[in-house]
Symmetry: C2
Subunit: 293 residues, 2 copies
């Protein structure tokens, strides 16, 4: 049995995993002061109660982590934590490994893909846009732990919106949930629409499904930007497939179908057949991936 | 002793390599009809004459190669050659391995870098623009053998020149030797210049070194495009360093210095320190890299 921990800003998800299956899972509230002691205590409690011998514990961290040392978790305002030291207190003989949370989700999706995928790029569309690269069945962290920060590829010269990172025209500014709302508001007066003036990204794509003019316009625009980004990714790493995940992807195949239409237009001929798939594991991807680190 | 073979459109370079050093090298003319028999005969002749036992033979192929099978070499108009079969005739007990020529050059540069580089991206600026990705000390071929085809990243929305590949705005259209001349001709009448009307890329950058207005303008434009491409590469793979190689890079540090200036402007904060280096091995990179496959 392995344990995969997906650390989030409001809750931490713990999964006990056998093979590719989550046997049991728990959520605990993220408390900054006692975060990792809370996590390890819960694991100790579960393993003792069920008389389980753990093989390993993996952590998906929302931030920068290097050799199991957490450099920074911006959203939880925690930095400088050595997981090796903490884990020794609770599990002196269990292997542990930590990586970025998007990387863990990427690994989870790749491992649970029945197509036996060895190289893939995962794109998560949420409040921001992130990603993770899996090569030869393993996560690529990158020398600065910045591999997968594809939300900050330059992609939009048309609006060139300022990004939170300081740059302009980043993929994130036009394809995150926030970016989708930003575009819908920008073009709000130019189309007939049933989208409410104070909308969410879900409202925009729900309306697009029903043929709403503004909704369809924004869906196409977002998909075109994503397709351009994937076309660039494809020549850089030439992976087997792309996974589209995160909250925005819950709208389903309407998004991936639209991305595919533009991908065919913008992709280099040798990479035209790269598969574009909806991520399947949802919230479980992080736990499963972490357990495979 | 290992042998590295760099197959080119007009000549084939053969290097006999010990450690990281080329002990002996030969050039033979590329004859389409007898290409690989010529190559193997030369290797047999050399090894017999010098009483050498070969460990391995590596091939850098200007085209698509998969599991030692040459799918296509467009510039030599050869396709469908199984190197395993041919090599068995000459060297039944010697390991062979083939990869794309830009990948081999990338591997050569990485291996001969004294900084002990494990992950790097090589960009070659020649008639076209290509590249190669080395991760964990090994070449990444990609599922379509298209990894490194970064000449076909979309990068230029300003001129949006048509590319030979069928797309528009590709990096190659504005940063290859041909692309540099294309830009210089486009802006020829707008600046005072000593660059001849029928120029080469070398003329443009030679004049830039002397402060020529048009030359400096084009150098900056080319560097800005390259910097944007590198900034995107950095968030996708987050490698330790970039190598700038190919004929165009012979102009030296004036190019890499100018790229660095724009890279600092366009790169994501976490990847600002990624090194940008001039490739050092020149024509030997392919042979050395091939010998390390």
């Amino acid at each position: 049995m392995r344990c995969g921990v997906d650390v989030g800003g409001t809750t931490v998800k713990l999964g006990f995993v056998e093979g590719k299956k989550i046997v049991d899972s728990f959520s605990i509230v993220t408390k900054k002061e006692t975060l990792f002691d809370d996590i390890f205590s819960k694991i100790v409690e579960y393993t003792k109660k069920n008389n389980i011998e753990l093989e390993s514990i993996g952590f998906g961290i929302p931030g920068i982590v290097r050799d199991n040392y957490i450099v920074k978790m911006p959203n939880i305002a925690i930095s400088g934590i050595d997981l090796n030291v903490i884990s020794k207190k609770y599990f002196p003989n269990v292997r542990i490994k930590a990586s970025n949370d998007a990387n863990c989700a990427a690994l989870g999706e790749a491992i649970c893909d029945t197509d036996n995928v060895k190289s893939s790029y995962f794109i998560t569309l949420g409040t921001g846009v992130g990603g993770g690269y899996v090569y030869d069945g393993k996560v690529v962290d990158g020398v600065n732990c910045a591999c997968g920060e594809i939300g900050h590829m330059f992609i939009d010269h048309i609006h060139n919106f300022k990004c939170g990172c300081g740059l302009s025209g980043c993929l994130e500014t036009v394809t995150s949930a926030t970016g989708i709302v930003r575009l819908a508001k920008k073009y709000y007066s130019e189309f007939e629409t049933k989208i409410p003036a104070e909308m969410s990204a879900k409202d925009v794509f729900d309306c697009a499904k029903e043929g709403d003019q503004l909704g369809v316009f924004v869906l196409n625009m977002v998909s075109e930007y994503l397709a351009k980004a994937l076309a660039n990714l494809a020549v850089v790493v030439d992976c087997e497939c792309f996974y589209i995940g995160g909250g925005v992807s819950k709208c389903g195949s309407i998004l991936t179908d639209c991305i595919k239409k533009y991908y065919d237009k913008y992709s280099f001929y040798a990479t035209k057949d790269t598969k574009i798939k909806l991520a399947k594991l949802g919230n479980d991807a992080g736990m499963i991936g972490a357990s495979y680190l």
